[in-house]
């Protein structure tokens, strides 16, 4: 076990980019103990009983918000929830004003999701609270990447040396960027696969392989992380039709059975069944989609615990 006595190297969790490998391993080892806590009859510890956390969501979310909220409750933190759609943001209040008003109510930590890339970084420079990025536009989604890597580690024992293919809408995906950074820091090989229009032009500069043929990507990888087509972020047409996308890049049972090895199937959710992945694959025993959700709570507990543990 390495020396973790100094804790995380960062005060906020804005992106995987700011973490080093030791930070990620520390989060994983802390999440291991929290996973153990979550399997006890009493699934709660009192660590964060004097910490107040605001969940500020400017974008829709099911899994991430519930997962953060549950993680906070399991740690005995006080939580308040804020959804932009039902707030004064629609009356013209700015982001900093909104957050400073929340902080005036003595809040220690902000979990923020925002449609604009860099919203978390911007806030961390302007307000006096710890910021956890729960997704900023098409930029980063650090806790998702951590829980994905944690799930791979759980199945294979280690992430280093594994081959992971991220398949689908790479261009609009924050999960893709965070995953690439996180997996590479842990020593895994990463490939992205999708239609040419949905692969960013300079993605090769991140040191990932690029493949446009689904079958070749699946034959190469140990783990396939299927991403959703983010229609809500697509302002122009990137491919002729969803039906054609499914024919070229949809994962179904026939393709999976034609491979000469068993690969793990992951998906960050929400699933569009029948588009990027068929129901029989999503519900198969190779799929660890629900393990990802379960691990999400433990990972978020670890992140909140390690950040909140720093002396204010």
């Amino acid at each position: 076990m390495s020396d973790y006595s100094k804790g995380l190297s960062t005060k906020h969790l804005l992106g995987i980019k700011d973490l080093n490998e030791r930070d990620i391993q520390l989060i994983f080892e802390t999440a291991d103990t929290f996973k153990d806590v979550l399997n006890r009859p009493i699934k709660k510890v009192p660590s964060l009983r004097d910490v107040t956390i605001a969940n500020v969501f400017f974008e829709n979310s099911t899994r991430t918000r519930l997962s953060f909220e549950l993680a906070q409750k399991r740690l005995s933190a006080d939580t308040i929830n804020f959804a932009a759609s039902s707030s004064s943001v629609s009356k013209g209040e700015t982001l900093i004003d909104t957050v400073n008003n929340i902080l005036a109510m003595k809040v220690d930590m902000i979990v923020i999701r925002h449609p604009y890339p860099g919203a978390g970084i911007f806030l961390s420079r302007k307000v006096n609270a710890q910021i956890v990025n729960a997704g900023d536009g098409a930029h980063e989604h650090p806790t998702q990447a951590l829980l994905d890597a944690f799930s791979i580690r759980e199945k294979y024992g280690d992430v280093a040396g594994k081959k992971i293919a991220i398949i689908g809408d790479i261009l609009h995906s924050r999960v893709a960027l965070s995953n690439i950074l996180c997996l590479q820091k842990l020593g895994a090989e990463v490939m992205v696969c999708g239609p040419t229009t949905l692969i960013p032009k300079y993605i090769g500069s991140l040191g990932v392989k690029v493949e446009f043929d689904l079958l070749k990507a699946l034959n190469w990888c140990d783990v396939a992380n299927m991403l959703r087509i983010q229609l809500e972020r697509q302002d122009i047409k990137y491919f002729p039709s969803l039906r054609e996308y499914t024919m070229m890049y949809g994962l179904n049972k026939q393709i999976l059975d034609s491979l000469d090895k068993e690969i793990l199937i992951m998906h960050p959710g929400p699933i569009n069944r029948g588009v990027e992945i068929t129901s029989d694959v999503a519900d198969s025993k190779q799929s660890i989609i629900l393990d990802q959700v379960e691990n999400g709570v433990a990972i978020r507990m670890a992140v909140l615990y390690l950040l909140a543990g720093q002396k204010p």
């Binding site: 973790y4 006595s5 100094k6 804790g7 995380l8 520390l26 080892e29 802390t30 291991d32 103990t33 153990d36 806590v37 006890r40 009859p41 009493i42 709660k44 510890v45 009192p46 660590s47 964060l48 004097d50 910490v51 740690l75 615990y305 390690l306 909140a308 543990g309 720093q310 002396k311 204010p312």
Partner: protein, 181 residues
């Protein structure tokens, strides 16, 4: 730093054996009792006690677990460095059992308070007892006293009591560290 050895060699072993026999007086064949070593340093004493009890009572089933108290401590967010947790390993049920909490050194009593909180997440024991190898007398912050004591030590706040173990540190020893002035 000045070191003073308080306990080692044969005296150390005799102390451990005395604690074992005191336990047997109260717990018979351990059919309704369990041992919980407190992480990180109490588990070595718990393992030693469990091992010796098994030698004395070959037919008994000695249940021994590790209890981590990190998340239940009262100094979270009050320290410079964050607390890193250890593993809790309790693969038996403590509901209705007599629990013997085991730690190497008892000082302020705060660890034991946390341990009692942490333990309650695993059920409601019939009775809880405390066994320590070293009792630093007159230094308690909380009304907590041990049921079984290896040795009692009078010490001041700036001193430290360290217990080393054959398994991890080559030698069974209790030492008192004082700042040299």
């Amino acid at each position: 730093m000045q070191n003073l050895t308080l306990l080692d060699g044969q005296k150390f072993q005799i102390t451990i054996m005395r604690l074992c026999h005191q336990l047997i007086e109260n717990h018979d064949d351990f059919s309704n009792s369990v041992i919980l070593g407190i992480q990180p340093r109490g588990i070595y004493l718990a393992n030693r006690i469990a091992y010796e009890l098994q030698q004395i009572l070959p037919d008994a089933k000695i249940l021994n677990g590790n209890l981590d108290i990190t998340f239940f401590r009262d100094d979270f967010r009050r320290r410079e460095s964050p607390l890193v947790p250890n593993t809790t390993k309790i693969d038996f049920i403590i509901e209705g059992k007599k629990v013997i909490l085991v730690d190497d050194v008892l000082w302020t009593g705060r660890t034991i308070r946390s341990a009692m909180d942490a333990m309650l997440a695993f059920g409601r024991p019939q009775k809880v007892e405390l066994l320590v190898l070293v009792d630093r007398r007159f230094s308690r912050h909380l009304p907590i006293e041990p049921d079984y004591i290896g040795i009692q030590v009078d010490s001041i706040n700036s001193q430290k009591v360290l217990v080393s173990w054959k398994e991890t540190d080559q030698e069974d020893k209790v030492i008192l560290l004082s700042e040299k002035d």
